[in-house]
């Protein structure tokens, strides 16, 4: 099973570059995400965060 695919990457030179690439990719995505999140207008955020509260008048039996 696994032995059939196990050694496919052996011949690649500098195979250790792949983790580094993934790490950079991760940070790039993370920073981009932070940037976009900071850019979302407050109005949209409020609208979305109110979604769970829609629909029923009385959300709390204990009030």
């Amino acid at each position: 099973m696994l032995r059939f695919i196990k050694h496919h990457f052996d011949s690649i030179d500098n195979v250790e570059i792949y983790p580094i690439i993934s790490l950079l990719l991760f940070f790039a995505v993370f920073i981009t995400m932070l940037f976009y999140v900071s850019k979302i207008p407050k109005k949209n955020l409020e609208e979305i965060s109110n979604l769970p509260l829609e629909g029923e008048e009385n959300n709390n039996d204990y009030e």
């Binding site: 099973m1 990457f9 991760f26 976009y36």
Partner: protein
């Protein structure tokens, strides 16, 4: 736009709610049985299917997949319909999901006590059940995505992202960790061996906690906490950051379960770094949950549901603080293999999962049966019993963990047994804590039953909402990137998958590909046929639940157990059996340490050889005939997986097996006591002989030439 009328499916939510309660009681009851086995190891003597090694996986599986699983589905089916303003995609799929899942649980409850197990923690179920889980998971996935596609609400609330991440990640984890080669209907071997198997298992094990016990419950938190407190989540921005950073980081952290083991150093360090980073998203989520109650803390005093939520989220904060701390090598050296870990996971299970589930159940009970909760006072009692239960459970085990770790570190002749007798009072307190917690939960069952009896039997709920206007799948001119992404469900799901795959791939592919990561030891040879059968008995009895086979490179461990374990020693171990807890001593170098008679007597009654031991006795190993009908098939399966058995060895398997068994019986007969008691019985045909063969082989490959000594 014209509004459409439709019904929410409440019946399916009710069904999952009832299943949550039923399996909750069952799972905790098994947990309690197991806790009492520590104090009264004899009380189920001689009943093979009630021995610790078989019950412990039943407890973990019942709590994780039956209790928490059903509670997650309950919350998902309730909140998804409302957040998307749509009935679930297909009632038939909902029903298949429900009944399929319950059948899987029943199958687990039957097979695990029978000893049908793959031995990999939280993935013990054998291959036919694994396939069933995959199918049911796909059914749930189609149902969820289908509902999202027919929604009447443009934007997808953050709770649903967490559900989607759960859906894809659990599928990936489950499939990759359960890749196994079947030998018979209920026996299979992991396709990975040794270090690779350990790595895949803990990549799975860690992320089963992450994506089965954490992300879906965070989704529930983001829906039910605002709902019950009647105010929006503290920061929606934070919830987006929380989501992406959590799913990105979690998947890398698995190797922290394997610190100081034979796993390559770079993989261990990667695990530590990411585990420490993980505290940021985890605490971001906790803060977001707790601060949702800003300005509503007075309600927490009045409302038992909010009390449950507050303790649950605090418990989440505690265990996600502890997790990164335990990933530091210095603390891990203390905590690993001890009861500290058991305390740690129970903060997660009892506080975070159990109390989130309880809060949601109470809230849903009054919603679904359209009446007030039968007794708020009873719910408050449950809360206090549960909270005390958590404290009585966890604190003694923290003490036990430290006690045991510091005793192991001392250089004196005390064995693991002395450490266990030392912490016995802690085990008693733990059982008391568990009893309190279960009592509270039974009060919940009664409270819900009374509520349901008094309530309405109307199941479905009529609602109306405008259908979604068709808009272009591409980004609208003023639309922000993330809000566009949120409405593109499939793309969103794919990106989530990519995010989790990167971490997994980076950790696992190099291990599978670069041979230098696992140095070859030429003296390490495959198991003999008899040892292979013995190993399967070791797996069946769940010995790995209490005994590790991984000696860490500490002076104290090398003194106590022998030379530390090397990665190359496990290359033929399909599956690996390193274990994660030492209730008993490490057995990796047990081979040759005692004679065959010692093992024989020890298995018959551990207290004969080791007074005060809390190990169960295994009298059935002396009477059960060894099943050799699959021996050749097992060896052939091993060959397929890369174990170098020769054709000659396979053809002669039974001959070799009998020879070795006769040899062991000869050894046993050197003891006059044995001849007196068992002289007539043909011990060479019994299971015990295979197990002795395996135990005597353990760890001997690289210490040949040394004299066996006590």
């Amino acid at each position: 736009m014209e509004k459409e009328q439709f019904y929410y499916d409440n019946k399916i939510v009710k069904m999952f709610l009832i299943a949550t309660i039923v399996w909750g009681v069952v799972g905790m009851l098994v947990g309690l049985l197991v806790a009492f086995l520590f104090i009264f190891p004899n009380y189920m003597e001689g009943i093979s299917w009630l021995s610790f090694g078989r019950l412990r996986p039943l407890h973990t599986n019942a709590v994780i997949f039956a209790f928490v699983g059903n509670s997650i589905f309950m919350g998902i089916y309730y909140s998804m319909q409302r957040l998307l303003k749509a009935r679930m995609f297909s009632d038939v799929l909902s029903k298949i999901h429900f009944w399929g899942w319950q059948l899987i649980i029943v199958a687990a409850a039957i097979t695990l006590p029978l000893g049908l197990t793959s031995s990999k923690e939280y993935a013990e179920l054998e291959w036919p059940i694994d396939i069933a889980i995959t199918l049911i998971w796909v059914v749930m996935g189609i149902n969820m995505i289908g509902t999202i596609l027919k929604r009447r609400q443009r934007h997808i609330y953050v709770a649903i992202w967490f559900y989607l991440a759960t859906l894809v990640t659990v599928a990936i984890l489950h499939i990759f960790n359960n890749l196994e080669l079947p030998v018979s209907a209920f026996k299979s071997y992991s396709i990975y061996a040794g270090v690779q198997d350990a790595m895949v298992q803990w990549w799975y094990g860690h992320n089963a906690v992450a994506f089965f016990l954490t992300t879906p419950v965070l989704g529930l938190m983001y829906y039910f906490v605002p709902k019950v407190a009647n105010r929006p989540v503290y920061s929606y921005r934070l919830s987006i950051v929380h989501f992406w950073s959590l799913i990105f980081l979690y998947i890398w952290a698995g190797p922290h379960h394997l610190l100081y083991t034979a796993l390559p150093e770079w993989a261990q360090n990667l695990g530590t770094v990411f585990s420490v980073m993980l505290i940021f998203p985890s605490w971001g989520g906790m803060i977001n949950g707790l601060l949702t109650l800003r300005g509503a803390w007075d309600k927490v005093r009045e409302n038992p549901i909010l009390k449950f939520f507050v303790v649950a989220i605090t418990g989440y904060g505690m265990s996600t603080f502890e997790g990164p701390m335990l990933s530091f090598k210095s603390l891990n050296a203390i905590g690993h293999y001890t009861d500290w870990i058991i305390a740690h996971v129970h903060i997660g299970a009892l506080a975070w999962n159990g109390f989130m589930a309880a809060g949601i159940v109470y809230w849903l009970a009054s919603k679904l049966w359209k009446t007030e909760l039968f007794s708020k006072k009873l719910a408050n009692t449950h809360f206090w019993l549960g909270t005390l239960g958590i404290l009585f459970y966890a604190i003694p085990l923290y003490v036990a963990g430290f006690t045991q770790a510091s005793m192991w570190k001392q250089f004196n002749p005390d064995g693991t047994l002395e450490t266990v007798t030392q912490i016995m009072p802690m085990y008693m307190m733990r059982a008391f804590g568990g009893t309190l917690y279960l009592t509270g939960f039974i009060l919940l069952a009664y409270n819900v039953y009374k509520t349901a009896k008094a309530g309405s039997t109307v199941t479905d709920e009529l609602v109306e909402a405008a259908p979604l206007k068709q808009i272009s799948p591409s980004r609208a001119p003023n639309e922000k990137w993330h809000s566009w992404l949120e409405r593109r469900t499939v793309l969103f799901t794919i990106l989530t998958t990519v995010a989790v795959l990167i971490g997994g791939a980076v950790e696992i592919i190099p291990l599978l590909t670069v041979p230098s990561n696992i140095p070859v030891i030429s003296s390490v040879k495959p198991y003999t046929p008899l040892e292979l059968e013995g190993r399967d008995i070791y797996i069946r009895e769940g010995c790995n639940n209490c005994h590790s086979q991984m000696i860490r490179p500490f002076r104290s461990e090398v003194e106590r157990y022998g030379e530390y374990s090397k990665a190359g020693e496990f290359v033929y171990d399909h599956p690996f059996l390193w274990g994660s807890r030492r209730t008993g001593p490490d057995v990796h170098r047990i081979g040759g340490k005692y004679n065959d008679n010692w093992h024989f007597n020890h298995m018959y009654d551990p207290r004969l050889t080791s007074p005060g031991s809390i190990m169960p006795s295994y009298p059935w190993l002396l009477t059960n005939d060894l099943d050799i009908s699959d021996t050749e098939a097992k060896m052939n399966a091993m060959v397929t997986l890369g174990v170098p058995y020769t054709q000659f060895e396979i053809d002669k398997a039974l001959f070799l097996l009998r020879n070795q068994a006769e040899e062991i019986e000869k050894n046993l007969r050197q003891d006059p006591e044995f001849v007196k008691n068992y002289g007539e019985s043909n011990m060479q045909n019994k299971e015990i002989v295979a197990l002795i063969a395996y135990l005597q082989r353990l760890g001997t490959d690289i210490k040949k030439g040394e004299t066996a000594q006590n």
